[in-house]
């Protein structure tokens, strides 16, 4: 028993000795979530103050990731075109109500949208035909200029390799 308290004493002394050393080299960066700008309440108050943005505009803010009118069938990012309205609404509610750490991207995206905005987007995407917007050969005529040729296809490239036929 005495031994145990002695051990505890030495451990405490060691910790006390070490603390100033640790404090002298603080790691200035914190791995915390950073949340800022206006609060969610202010965000919703502002949304209420002005006419709602058009459904076309709201839905178009999704385009950079989900494609024009939600019509890109990406390998990771799913299309939105043709998604049943209620499924879209339910998904957005799930993102808004759950802990956003549980989702890859959409948890932090869905947060500031109002009910009306979500309904408008859901109705917009439901109407879009679920067909890929981009024709497969849309960019096949690119000729890389002479000055840039040395930066073409590289063994380290992580682009999915196309199958070649001899």
């Amino acid at each position: 028993m005495t031994n145990f308290f002695l051990k505890l004493f030495w451990m405490g002394a060691l910790a006390a000795l070490c603390t100033p050393t640790l404090a002298a080299q603080p790691f200035r960066f914190k791995p915390d979530d950073q949340i800022g700008g206006m609060s969610l309440e202010e965000n919703f108050a502002l949304a209420k103050k002005f006419p709602k943005p058009s459904a076309w505009l709201q839905a178009s803010t999704c385009a950079a990731c989900h494609g024009t009118y939600g019509r890109e069938f990406g390998d990771i990012i799913p299309p939105l075109a043709g998604m049943p309205r209620q499924k879209f609404i339910d998904k957005m509610h799930e993102y808004q109500k759950s802990d956003w750490h549980n989702f890859i991207v959409m948890g932090i995206v869905a947060e500031p949208f109002t009910e009306e905005e979500i309904r408008d987007m859901g109705a917009f995407f439901e109407k879009q035909p679920p067909e890929e917007w981009t024709p497969p050969d849309w960019n096949s005529d690119v000729v890389i200029p002479e000055w840039a040729r040395e930066a073409m296809e590289h063994p380290h490239s992580d682009k999915p390799k196309e199958r070649r036929h001899d």
Partner: protein, 439 residues
Amino acid sequence: MTNSRARPHDLSRRDVLKFLGAAALTTGLLTASKKAFAKDARHLVIVGGGIGGSAAAKYMRLLNPDVKITIIEPDDLYMFCPGSNEVIVGWAGIEEITVSYTTLKNRYAINFVKDRATAIDFDKKSVRLANGDPIRYDKLIVSPGPQFVYEAIEGYNKDLAYGEFPAAWHVSPQTITLRRQIHQLKPGGTVIISSPEYPYRCPPAPYERASFICGFLKERNPTAKVIILDSKDSFIFDNNYPFYWQKEFGFGTDKAMIEWIGRSDGGRVVKLDAENHAVITENGQVHHGDVINIVPPHKAHRFCFDNDLVENDWCPVEFKNFESKRHKDVHIIGDSVDGDPMPKTGYLASNQARITVQAINDEWHDRPIGTPFLINDCVAMAGKNWGMSLMETFRYAGEGKRLEERYIIPGPAKNPAKHLVLKNVAKNWQRTFHKDIFS
């Protein structure tokens, strides 16, 4: 979110034919409209065929089949800045970030004038080309990108940037030079990256670049070192990058492959000593580098200065429709805009383009101009297998007021697999983004 509908590679031959038929119909409609432009059709003229200008052209066509649309652009191709850091370290080929204007021309009936715009005549509503020809407009959208102020660093200039000291902040021969320098760095060499004060194009990009270069060197040249000299005391994603660097490159230890010096510790570069291959910081410290990559401060494009669109280095606009506060019927989008709190990103340029064309189209149809709403969902990377994302939304706060921002920048995830997925999201986003603007 998943969608159970078939993906293209699952389609049957019949489905493919059906799909091609639909595509042909869309193309046909738009081409027909090109031939049928009325003599009194309105003319939207766009200066610059980058992300902002091209998105404006495509989305105006989606809203309005009858308007004539012209882009003034001297280049035949566009090379995306997003993805160019991958090109520098050889993780992507330059063809993966290069697009042609063919689809914009053919599918959306957009007219391209291969020249440089020089002067706006606001009374006659026309814009003059370098060859002297005027082009009349009903509405003008100016989307020229930023101007790099190389001379803000004493001893630095454009010639040196195209020579031995590439900035590579826009895809150009400078990008290729930097790529070559990194690939040929001597064993144990030092790479210096100088990051500027705000505002500049793509705030996380200097740190992504440093991180990529460090990852590349760890495999090929592990005694080499990367030093970031920063004109700021904090940076975007500073809740992520330092932790990745700690994990991968011993950041914060004696054996660190990467070092970050903030402004308070003398990180702000004020001078380039080209002869001795060194930079000098605000507090007089001299840093020698085998590769010196200075990201220069920015201001609005020269075209904006030449045409009275600038106040305090940037173009003031009304955020309802991005119309210039100085001249009517001229709208400015992208990196030349005084858009604070919006950062300067391609993502935002594309959303600004959509707001602008919707507002112009509303005005032409005597409808009230819609309320703007913008998002910037940045997906950046720290390494080949490590991605991260942030979300910013911008709401309209009234006439004459700046937009109001809300943001979330998640710190590192408990489950590292999330960052691998986010890397794949980032690459997927790049490909989709190219298509959203150019296809």
